[in-house]
Amino acid sequence: MAVMTKKTETAPALTIMTTDLRKAYGRKTVLDGIDLRVPAGTVFALLGPNGAGKTTTVRILSTLIEADGGQASVAGHDLAAAPEAVRRVIGVTGQFSAVDNLLSARENLILMADLYRLGRRPGRHRAAALLERFGLSEAADQPISTYSGGMRRRLDLAMTLVGEPRVIFLDEPTAGLDPRSRRELWAIVRELVADGVTIFLTTQYLEEADQLAGLIGVLDGGRIVAEGTVAELKRLVPGGHITVHFAGPAALTAAAVALAATGLVNEERATVAVDGDALTAQLPSDGSIGSLRSVLDRLDAAGIAVEDLSVHTPDLDDVFLALTGDRR
């Protein structure tokens, strides 16, 4: 027993694993050898610019299309050898709506329940519960053509949950949602993860990856160009800085001199970028209290008044822009 525990600690079970996954459309290589490791019960976010191959990856992993090369397994089932076993454990909410527009929301959910063979009564109960959970009870029997984009998206996800999948693929699940709906969806994702579900997410919203994902992979030019936790990725890029705003040009000039002196905490040779029009001085910083204090102390000592001060720590946008080349 003890040995077992130790084993799971050192090598967490991988729910999604790909090795050298390849896909080309004609002469265009979309995936050029993708290696992914997604531990069970975590959220993995795949980031990448438009056309990077995120949807292609999701379509391969969800058995919709076959890879040209490489191996992949989901929940221990090989994609090429046992796609049917994979289909039994996954749920997919694609980038584009996959609801039956000619049926009502309730009928859509009952259709899913019937296809998962939940039985008549349990199926209806499950449909009703999901309508409630996704705030669709009132509109449940109206035609879907009257639904807003957000309602449609919620129904899409509700349909994915009918079969209680252990692995869920979400391809840009919050595209086009307002901030409130987006937060609601994040809350649902967190609930699912708390229940042990593994989530494979693609997104254009870096805040979303920041909020939800344990691990992030950045896809560009057919390859994973960076992978790690949010903190690890942020460490890859410089870009943290303090911006100090002054009342007038005289103060700014004096500050530039004071700040350029050596010996700033954490910054042996602080390069101060002075903007005479905006009356700001910008200097690199890790955003720590210590570095802030040392800047303010130095300005204080020189008797220079500070109008305003802002701290910019590197975010995923910086990471994304730094890592994904401009190929257009």
Partner: protein, 261 residues
């Protein structure tokens, strides 16, 4: 496994039937088209065509008896347009991709479409047959002949439906899907539906004699009005097998290729 295919087919068939019942315009089109042609030929052109028919040995007064079987076959052919459009619309919607990621039998997805289309074509063909009876078509057939005619029509419907399903699957847009079966819809007109093939100019005549609808029309006409059938029944059944098997193979191949749309 087998049981699963059956339950999935029934589940998906319920869904397809709901579509057809809620949005019956395509099925209605499959009724109105042949009925309008029937009215046109009987009411407007009936006299001229009837006497033309008399010249080649028919009865002018009974032109409707001559064309009604042809119109009924036209109704079967018209159903294929509704089928192709329905299949195309459905498979271009994301819902079918969702089914493909679920443990759902893939054969069931096609089978449900085929059964739904066959049922709606039976309904529209029965309506067209009823209208021709209202307009004066008086078939004198025994029960066995009625059953034989219905059986052949059913067989033809099944064959054309598989063909239309394949056309719907390979069409990128519903417009393309409604154009693809045009050939099927117009083929009975260049057959013996409205005039005997023997009355047509050379070239057209050969085509009319050897195309698949003529033997089917001749067989149904023979069964319902007592006209001679000859080898037509066997040839018609042979065509059904060929068209049906070809359509089935085409549809299955098109469906297993995911990026058709």
């Amino acid at each position: 496994m087998r049981n699963r295919t059956v339950t999935d087919t029934l589940t998906l068939l319920r869904r397809n039937l709901r579509h057809t019942v809620r949005y019956p315009s395509m099925t209605a089109g499959a009724i109105f088209g042949p009925v309008i042609v029937l009215l046109l030929f009987v009411g407007v052109l009936g006299k001229t065509l009837g006497s033309g028919l008399a010249a080649s040995g028919g009865h002018p007064a009974h032109y409707i008896a001559y064309i009604a079987p042809g119109i009924i076959i036209t109704a079967v052919a018209a159903g294929s347009m509704a089928t192709a459009v329905a299949v195309c619309v459905d498979t271009t919607e994301g819902i079918v991709d969702r089914f493909r990621t679920m443990p759902v039998s893939r054969v069931a997805i096609l089978a449900a479409h085929v059964i739904n289309s066959v049922l709606s074509t039976i309904a529209s063909t029965a309506c067209v047959a009823a209208v021709s009876v209202l307009l004066g078509f008086r078939p004198h057939a025994t029960v066995a002949q009625w059953l034989a005619a219905a059986g052949l029509l059913l067989f033809l419907t099944l064959a054309l439906t598989w063909l239309a399903v394949a056309m719907g699957l390979v069409s990128a847009t519903p417009e393309a899907a409604s154009n693809a079966p045009m050939l099927i819809v117009f083929l009975p007109f260049v057959g013996s539906a409205f005039a005997p093939a023997s009355s047509m100019p050379a070239g057209v005549r050969q085509f009319a004699e050897y195309q698949p609808f003529t033997p089917a029309i001749e067989t149904v006409r023979g069964l319902l009005t007592g006209a001679p059938i000859g080898h037509n029944a066997v040839i018609a059944l042979g065509w059904c097998v060929v068209l049906g098997a070809g359509g089935y193979a085409w549809a299955v191949a098109a469906f297993s290729r995911p990026a058709a749309h």
